[in-house]
């Protein structure tokens, strides 16, 4: 089906926003990355707002969107609810970040992390449709979630490198990025195997399509393996942490966008007939 670019933006930005705030929340719990908690939360807030705006451009009649408030139990209603609640949590965190006690900051950050996770899962779950066999798997929202994690970690990594953060913290974030990229590769491979091994003939064309090449070359190669190799080099990570983090973020974004383009292309329905 046709690529819905406004929704590609929406899913990428909400993923990045939720991921960046999760990075801040983890920082609160572990007591590190103090210098980037505020900028991290600001990036999250901006990404979530921009993502929300992008989704509005997808609608032919945006003014009628207020009616969604009367149907919050629908998949799009859940997306809206979790987006609004995550935004409130991030805004609340920014309000207490300087003056609030550690306990209050932790509580709000944890709430935001949970809401952001639910937001990303809700966004992914809207695509789990019986009518689209290649989407009808929970590996799809799971791949959105792990992509959000990777984007968030690299955002935090870049902010930490920019603020010339503590070398030990930078090393810690570097290791976290490596773990997240391995997890992303695992989830993407499991998703691909799930689609490839399905017996449904409607999904079979996916295997021979150009999309498969894009999957291996761009999503796994450029978007996952390349940032992994960049982050894996201890000397490079120590010498140019900003370069590693910024390049990793850009590559993860490229992988995420192309992954979504593939998703729309393989999102074919069942053949009609008997």
């Amino acid at each position: 089906m046709e690529v819905q670019w406004t929704l590609v933006l929406f899913t990428m930005l909400t993923g990045l926003g939720a991921g960046a705030f999760a990075f801040v929340a983890v920082g609160e719990w572990l007591g590190w990355a103090q210098s980037v908690r505020r900028p991290g939360a600001l990036v999250a807030l901006a990404a979530l707002i921009l993502g929300g705006i992008a989704s509005v451009f997808h609608l032919a009649h945006p003014l009628r969107a207020f009616a969604v408030l009367g149907h919050l139990g629908t998949p799009m209603g859940l997306e809206l609810s979790f987006l609004a609640l995550t935004l409130i949590a991030v805004a609340a965190y920014l309000a207490v970040e300087k003056t609030g006690s550690a306990a209050v900051r932790k509580a709000i950050a944890t709430t935001g992390l949970i809401l952001g996770t639910l937001l990303v899962l809700a966004v992914g779950a809207t695509y789990v449709l019986p009518a689209r066999p290649a989407w009808n798997t929970w590996f799809l929202p799971l791949s959105f979630l792990i992509s959000a994690g990777v984007l968030g970690i690299f955002t935090g990594y870049a902010l930490l490198a920019r603020s010339r953060g503590d070398a030990a913290e930078l090393k810690g974030v570097n290791r976290l990025a490596l773990v997240a990229l391995v997890a992303q590769a695992a989830v993407l491979l499991l998703y691909a195997i799930d689609v490839a091994t399905t017996t449904d003939p409607a999904v079979a064309p996916v295997l021979s399509s150009a999309m498969l090449l894009l999957f291996w070359a761009v999503v796994l190669g450029v978007g996952t393996l390349l940032p992994f190799l960049l982050a894996l080099s201890p000397s490079l990570a120590a010498r140019a942490p900003m370069g590693v983090a910024a390049a990793g973020l850009v590559l993860a974004v490229v992988g995420g966008v192309v992954g979504r383009v593939i998703m729309y292309n393989v999102g074919t329905g069942y053949p009609l007939g008997f």
């Binding site: 819905q4 009628r64 009518a131 009609l272």
Partner: protein
């Protein structure tokens, strides 16, 4: 009361009279087909044949489109017909994505059939019923049915391949055909309980 349709594929000759009659009766713009006839090649050369499969909204008993609609524009009526309220539709296209039968069309821009000449007077009048940015689909000709008439595709079919009636009435022709001729819905495995049945053997 639960309206449904039986389509006898052994009778369909692929003439598309139903497609044309539907377009004329409902005044749908280019690209919007509430019903159409798929032409499928069956078998391997030289033992091949053409099979014609009319498709339309299946008015599912458990419609995904109604469950997912974020503004309640899609609704299941008491008589089983699935309808769209064009004044509520957001134009998000989610129902179009969720329909396994490809029965829904999001009208993005209403262009006429006469290119640079613009919309004809007829088109201007009829396309007002199908605003831009709204999803359209078959409603079993709900206005005609409310008047006690049959959907226009049923009336037009020269081969008598489309039969319309009450699935809750065991004595109706649709119920009889489903029982006696082994009428089956398309993709029942999806669990949406479609109300359009096909006789194909």
């Amino acid at each position: 009361m639960r309206y449904g349709m039986v389509i006898d594929l052994k009778r369909c000759i692929g003439c598309n009279s139903c497609t044309v009659a539907c377009k004329q009766a409902n005044g749908t713009p280019p690209g919007d087909l509430r019903t159409k006839v798929l032409t499928m090649e069956v078998g391997r050369y030289p033992h091949t044949k053409l099979e014609f499969i009319p498709v339309l909204c299946n008015h599912c008993e458990e419609p995904e489109c109604v469950r997912l609609c974020p503004v309640g524009a899609s609704a299941k009526q008491e008589n089983g017909i699935v309808t769209i309220d064009p004044d509520k539709c957001l134009g998000c296209g989610y129902c179009e994505m969720a329909c396994p039968y490809g029965a829904r069309t999001l009208i993005k821009k209403t262009t006429g059939y006469f290119g640079e000449h613009g919309l004809s007077t007829y088109e201007q009048a009829r396309y007002a019923e199908h605003p831009e940015g709204v999803v359209d689909k078959c409603d079993f000709c709900a206005d005609r049915v409310a008047r006690g008439e049959l959907p226009v595709c049923v009336v037009t079919c020269g081969a008598g391949a489309r039969i319309f009636g009450d699935l809750d009435d065991p004595t109706s022709e649709v119920s009889r055909l489903i029982a006696e001729e082994n009428g089956v819905p398309m993709h029942p495995e999806l669990g949406l309980k479609p109300q359009v049945y096909y006789i194909h053997r």
